[in-house]
Structure formats: structure tokens, C-alpha cells
């Protein structure tokens, strides 16, 4: 997988660049497949975990207005990126593995190589770049919709929205935002590499493709979570000002 990563990056940078149309196609494909699952998942998640549970907790302290500050921490830094990555891995990543696996089984990849077409440059690189971009951009929507979930939770508890926004914007920092977007872009890269690798090494007929999808999604989930932990820890440790909640 590491070798595939290296070769993908090198061949993405080195001219010629024949992968433009395929890139646009993959981009639209991921967009079309993922938008609705992502919207439903992030609103549901924002409403239940950081929304309901946290507001229950804060109401006990008589400080439901702090929910906004909590949302910066929970939604922007943590959960929006991770729901985003789970949806992308589960929906777009599995589709990529199924697609490439089918081509491998039907020996289309070998045929491409015989024709002198480099499968990495023409198949992997566009998917890699497209998935990185889509995951990064979807993160912004995931943030907005996650916060929408928090707004619904606030309204359900009959709390005014003004203090929510006030603490939200007091605590929101650019570092959090770029941290979130950079993190999801890296998630996209992980998903693309794992799924392309598993698709291109599928073997063993009908069951092989299914098993490749299975392994791809399991490895992608574990890799995402492990990377997420390391990234959050590094971000929090190197930017201590993030951990103070403003009033």
C-alpha cells in the first residue's frame, strides 16, 4: 500500500496529465452518491451525541449557553470530520473497490497495461485526487449540518439561540477550521489508497470482489480512526490555546 501511495503521488505530479476527464467523472460520482447519506448522518449525529447529551449535561449546571463552545470542540474538531470520513469510506470507497475489483477480475487492468496505458496514472490518480478534494469539501457541509443538528437540539430544549451562536463564534478559531479540513483531506487520501489497492489486488472470482470490498472498508475504518487519534492529539498538544473555552 505504501508503494502504491508513493507511485500515485509521483505519477500525479509528473507530466503528462491525461486524467482530467476521469477526475471530473469520479468527482461527480462521489458527489452524487454521498450527498444524501452525508446530510442525514451528520444532522442525526449532531443532534444526538453532541446536541442532546451535552445539553442535558450543561442544563444540570445551568449553563446551556455553553453548548456553542462545546460544538466547536465536538463538531468541528472531532465528529464532523469523522462522520464525513465514515460516510465517504462506506459509500464512495466501497463503490471504488467494487468498480476496480470488477475490472481486475475481468482482466481489464491487464488489457490496459498491454495497450501501454498506465493504470495507476489513469485510474488510481484521478480517484485519489477526487476523493481527497471531495472529502475535504464535504467536511464544510458536514460542519454546517452538524451545527444544524445542535441548533435543533437547542430549540428542542426551549433554549434561546443567541447565546449558542455567541459562545460558538467566541470559540471558533481558524486553526480549528483548517485543522478539520486538512484532517479530512488526509482521510480522503487514506480511503482512496486503501480502496484502490484492495480493488486492484482482488482475485478469486465473484467472492473475491465482495471480500475485497469487505477488507477495504474494515482497513479504511481502522486507519481513519487511528489517524484521527494521532492528529487530534498532535493538534491539541501543539496549539494549547485551542483548549481554553472563551466566555
Amino acid at each position: 500500500m505504501m508503494i502504491l501511495t508513493g507511485r500515485t503521488i509521483v505519477s500525479a505530479i509528473r507530466p503528462p496529465y491525461p486524467y482530467g476527464p476521469e477526475f471530473v467523472g469520479q468527482f461527480m460520482f462521489a458527489l452524487r452518491l454521498c450527498w444524501l447519506p452525508l446530510a442525514i448522518s451528520t444532522v442525526a449525529f449532531g443532534y444526538e451525541a453532541p446536541g442532546l447529551q451535552a445539553i442535558n449535561f450543561l442544563v444540570l449546571f445551568g449553563a446551556p449557553d455553553r453548548l456553542g463552545g462545546f460544538f466547536v470542540l465536538a463538531s468541528i474538531r472531532e465528529f464532523a470530520p469523522f462522520v464525513d470520513a465514515i460516510v465517504l469510506a462506506g459509500v464512495a470507497g466501497t463503490a471504488i473497490t467494487a468498480d476496480l475489483g470488477a475490472r481486475k477480475i475481468r482482466e481489464e487492468l491487464d488489457a490496459l497495461e498491454v495497450l501501454g496505458v498506465d493504470p495507476i496514472k489513469n485510474l488510481v490518480v484521478p480517484r485519489f485526487v477526487a476523493l481527497m478534494l471531495v472529502t475535504g469539501l464535504f467536511d464544510v457541509y458536514a460542519l454546517l449540518l452538524g451545527v444544524l443538528g445542535g441548533v435543533i437540539a437547542t430549540l428542542v430544549n426551549n433554549e434561546p439561540l443567541g447565546p449558542f451562536w455567541a459562545t460558538f463564534f467566541n470559540n471558533a478559531s481558524t486553526t480549528d477550521l483548517w485543522g478539520s479540513v486538512v484532517k479530512t483531506t488526509m482521510f480522503g487520501a487514506i480511503i482512496a489508497i486503501v480502496c484502490c489497492y484492495k480493488g486492484m489486488t482482488a482475485s478469486g472470482g465473484a467472492e473475491g470482489v465482495g471480500r475485497a470490498v469487505n477488507q477495504a472498508v474494515v482497513i479504511a475504518f481502522l486507519a481513519i480512526f487511528a489517524f484521527n487519534y494521532v492528529f487530534t492529539q498532535v493538534l491539541l498538544a501543539t496549539h494549547p490555546q485551542l483548549t481554553t473555552i472563551a466566555r
Binding site: L73, G90, V91, G210, F225
Partner: protein, 265 residues
């Protein structure tokens, strides 16, 4: 625009079929027809234990670490580092452990079932079963559902343990703002047996959904090796959305009106 609406319309189409199929499978389990194949059920249970438990525990462990550091930093910022246990207890037990369990069930067990049943369907093995007078739905799907219901409660309870251990490591050993005793005092005060039961109900609802969706897409796969891959990918979409919705409804029902905390009114 039409292309954007295509996906949801596709869902609605298949949703009714999934429900009908799921009802049939549940009927076979509830009607005890599945007991004719106890051996197969036990074999499926064994496969579940051997192949899936470690991965599930691993994922839950990582999410426990995550809950731990977020909780410790959040409580530091409001000036109550001693209360990190609350965040860990709620985040682990109520929200993220069930959710991660659902994710990993979908990824490991759900897609595994689709791949297995799908390839059986493609190579006409299911038809062969029916010719031999064995009902495919009972023998393949109902046994898997029963195996999941038998094994998964225990797997899930252990994975709660893995999550708690990870949170403890992150909060007490790694960040170290609170002593071990102080952490556990708060930690155990803010949860009680009904909470565990609610969390278990949530996780089992997800598990049943994942197994049924996996069986549906595998049992009805068509179109050669490509079809199996596509069916696997499609099942993931339904599973992810379903897991989130179940989680949200569960939280709303169990904890929406009553935080079940030992302070306040």
C-alpha cells in the same frame, strides 16, 4: 438534477423490499423453524466470534481513547478536570460505543455476509439448496440472524469494557489531570445498569439491521462478480444511514427527556 434525485429514489424502491425480506427472516427465527438448523447456527456464531470480535474491540478501543482526550480537554477548559469521568462515561456508554459497534458491524459483518451470500447466489448454490428442499432463507439468513442475536450481546458488553479501559488510559495515564480514584468515583456515579441496558438495546437494533440488510443484498445479488461488488457497496449506504438514525432515535427515546444523572432535579 435528475441524477441527484436518482439515489434517494433508488433507496425508496429497495426499502420496501428490505422490510418485506427482513420480516420473513425474523418470522423464520420467531417461528422457531430455524431450530432445525442448530448446527449451522452454532457454526455461524463461531465464525462471528473468531473473525469479527477482535476488530470490533480494536475500533471501540480507539474511540475510547478519543473520548478520553476530548473529555479531558473539554473539562479542563471549563475548569472541572476532576469531572472528566462524566464525559467519558456518557460519551462511551451512551453514544460512541454503540455507534462504533454499528459501524464495525456494517463494515465487517454486513459486507462479509453480502460477499458470501452474493457469491453463493451467483454460483447458483442457493438454487441448489432450494432444489434439495432446504429453504435458503431459513438455512442461510435466519441462522445468521439467530447467531448474531446469541453472540453479539456478549461481544458488545466486552466492547463497552474495551472503551472504558481506553478512556481510563487516556484520561488518567496520558493526560493525568485527575487521579485514578477521582476518575472512577465520578465515572461510576454517572451511570447505572439501566443505562447499560439502553445502550445494549441500541446496539442490538443496529446489529439486527446490519444482518438483515446484508442478507437482503447478498440473497438478491445478480449480475456476476461485478454484481456482488456493487451489492456490497450498496448495502454499506443503507447500513450507515440506518445506524445513524437508530442511534439518534435511541438517544431521543432513552435519554431525551431525562438525563439520568445523579445531580440536579
Amino acid at each position: 438534477m435528475n441524477e441527484l434525485v436518482e439515489v434517494p429514489r433508488d433507496w425508496l424502491d429497495s426499502m420496501g423490499d428490505v422490510v418485506r425480506f427482513g420480516a420473513r427472516v425474523v418470522g423464520r427465527v420467531a417461528g422457531l423453524q430455524v431450530l432445525r438448523y442448530t448446527g449451522e447456527t452454532l457454526r455461524q456464531a463461531g465464525i462471528l466470534i473468531v473473525s469479527s470480535t477482535l476488530v470490533i474491540w480494536g475500533l471501540v478501543f480507539i474511540i475510547g481513547l478519543q473520548c478520553g482526550i476530548e473529555g479531558a480537554y473539554f473539562n479542563q477548559s471549563v475548569g472541572t478536570p476532576a469531572y472528566s469521568g462524566v464525559f467519558a462515561a456518557w460519551c462511551d456508554l451512551r453514544e460512541l460505543v454503540p455507534l462504533c459497534f454499528g459501524y464495525m458491524m456494517a463494515a465487517k459483518v454486513g459486507t462479509g455476509i453480502v460477499a458470501e451470500l452474493g457469491s453463493m447466489r451467483i454460483s447458483d448454490e442457493i438454487d441448489a439448496l432450494e432444489v434439495m428442499g432446504i429453504s435458503g432463507i431459513t438455512f442461510l439468513c435466519a441462522t445468521r440472524l439467530l447467531a448474531a442475536l446469541v453472540v453479539l450481546p456478549f461481544v458488545y458488553l466486552c466492547s463497552i469494557g474495551a472503551g472504558f479501559l481506553a478512556s481510563y488510559l487516556a484520561v488518567v495515564q496520558q493526560i493525568g489531570d485527575v487521579s485514578s480514584g477521582g476518575f472512577f468515583l465520578i465515572f461510576w456515579q454517572f451511570q447505572n445498569p439501566p443505562d447499560v441496558l439502553f445502550s445494549l438495546i441500541k446496539a442490538m437494533a443496529m446489529a439486527v439491521l446490519v444482518v438483515l440488510v446484508g442478507c437482503y443484498y447478498g440473497y438478491n445479488a445478480s449480475g456476476g462478480p461485478v454484481g456482488v461488488g456493487t451489492a456490497t457497496a450498496k448495502s454499506m449506504v443503507i447500513n450507515i444511514v440506518g445506524v445513524h438514525l437508530i442511534s439518534m432515535l435511541g438517544t431521543q427515546i432513552f435519554w431525551g427527556n431525562n438525563p439520568r444523572a445523579p445531580i440536579g432535579g
